[in-house]
Symmetry: C2
Subunit: 319 residues, 2 copies
């Protein structure tokens, strides 16, 4: 349930209706010269000011009028419509738009402003991405701090390091160097030498079993894997070998509506050496050029091995 947004520094607020816990995200700025991809010119700042002054306050009223927006409901439909809900959010963003049109054009607001907000969202097929992240974060937070659990509750990367957290191992992060995106498609003029190591907190989506884990639902993404539909199905099936369950909320059409594989078990990763597959963007390593490509990256083995060692130590298990 996505809800109230603060008017001064606008963020998305998503609430776990079971626990009451809330998490936060900025709004998605779209593509091009945007802060979330490292750009910071005047065009970027002007857009951010508009998001602070117009988008945020309007969305606060719209989402309140809508009585909140169910993130899960939209993602479940998106998976039926070709989104894997990380690198492809085209259908989910359309469904989100459908959820807000009525409040957006019903509240007391100038038509021009309402249309401005509509155009901004309609022009960015990734607008729903940041809401997806909040939903996934809440779901995985609900799995934290379970005694004896070997389930991964977060994967994140900052362009230098890649870290994971494990349910039974408290607040510790297990960290290795962040991998480069070798299997990526680059924008014209850019190549593997230009990209920074993998970056961003969006791998919380794969931690929850969408994105790279659900790629069989989005064959359009398979070209990033250098392959076709069968390669996409192969990745989702492989992810089933390192997870403990299938998420029945998200039925993959091409797998006869089998749920997405969910709940990465560090024991299975270490034993099989199958690494979590993450759909990601490539950001330029030095300039403010922003996104220069997109592709698939594998989580590094080392942090899973470290976590398993720590697990053995904490729970006093013989090696």
């Amino acid at each position: 349930m996505t809800g109230i947004i603060s008017p001064s520094m606008p963020v998305i607020v998503t609430k776990d209706l079971m626990s009451g816990k809330m998490v936060y995200s900025t709004f998605n700025e779209g593509g091009g010269k945007v802060l979330w991809f490292g750009a910071f010119g005047s065009e970027t700042l002007e857009r951010l000011r508009w998001m602070r002054d117009v988008l945020g306050p309007v969305m606060k009223r719209v989402v309140e009028k809508a009585g909140g927006i169910s993130v899960w409901n939209i993602l479940a439909q998106g998976i039926q419509m070709g989104d894997e809900c990380h690198n492809r959010h085209a259908a989910s963003t359309n469904i989100f738009l459908k959820s807000i049109i009525e409040p957006l054009f019903s509240i007391d607001l100038s038509r021009d402003t309402a249309l401005q907000v509509y155009r901004f969202i309609a022009g960015n097929s990734h607008f729903f991405l940041n809401m997806t992240m909040t939903g996934c974060k809440l779901a995985m937070d609900a799995a934290r701090d379970i005694e004896d659990s070997t389930i991964v509750t977060a994967m994140s990367r900052n362009g230098t390091d890649f870290g994971i957290r494990v349910s039974g191992l408290g607040d510790n992060w297990f960290v290795s160097p962040s991998p480069l995106l070798l299997d990526a498609l680059y924008n014209p003029g850019y190549g593997p030498d230009d990209g920074a190591p993998d970056i961003g907190d969006s791998a919380i989506i794969e931690t929850m079993g969408l994105g790279g884990f659900a790629i069989a639902a989005a064959p359009a993404m398979a070209s990033f894997a250098g392959g076709g539909f069968q390669e996409a199905v192969g990745i989702t099936k492989q992810m089933g070998l390192i997870t403990i369950t299938k998420n029945s909320k998200f039925g993959v059409p091409a797998l006869d509506f089998e749920g997405t594989p969910m709940g990465i078990d560090i024991r299975k990763v270490v034993e099989t050496e199958i690494l979590p597959s993450i759909d990601s963007a490539v950001i330029h390593k030095a300039t403010g050029a922003g996104q220069i490509g997109a592709g698939i990256v594998k989580a590094p083995y080392e942090c899973f091995a470290q976590a398993l060692m720590a697990f053995g130590k904490k729970y006093d298990l013989a090696a």
Copy 2:
């Protein structure tokens, strides 16, 4: 290109930009007690009056302001999003909505009226169906009257008869009894004894290679075939055996974006005895109960055999 709509008896007007030819359709009324499914009570008439007085005139202005709507563009996206573009139009209707929001809320119109029109369309995931039919009709009309051609340019049924037209055979219809929908899912309280033989002109969609021919793009429809994803793929592959080409406009994601099979050849149907597969609705045979189920129906063999005999006769071919 869908365009101007007459204000007195509102119809969709779709134009072939190559030939200038125009075709027409009513607007889709939605589900429940609706005229297109044989209902005719006061609720139905009231809705039709609103469509005449409000929807039609508003849509005329909206579509003019939008500069026309490209039917092909929307269908090409729909196929990427789980629609087979006959019984499932959920994504296409969302994309259509996205195309009209800006004009709908920009023209000089009361907000209430704009919201009424929005709600009507947003509440009917089949709204785009009737535009799909106009696009398919134009495409198949462009294939009419080609000397020597054995390609089917229309399939239609009226609850009693099932007829086809063939490109090289002029305006003749080749007619057999319309089949019952045996592989259908019925609404509670209804069964195969209640249904009328197959009815409607929507099989122009299959004639153009969407709907039943594209069912591999919409695994959600496979349950109507009593099966799963592989059964859906099997139907699309089978339709490839009775058609002459693949339509590269409509790439089926789960078939590595192979185009939908298109151009039914009466020789192939007669030789293989593989019958065109049509996604359809079941209408009650007697009462005004409207739609009582949905499923898959096979075109009858006889009309293809008749057409082939007529072809042999017209072109003076030895039997």
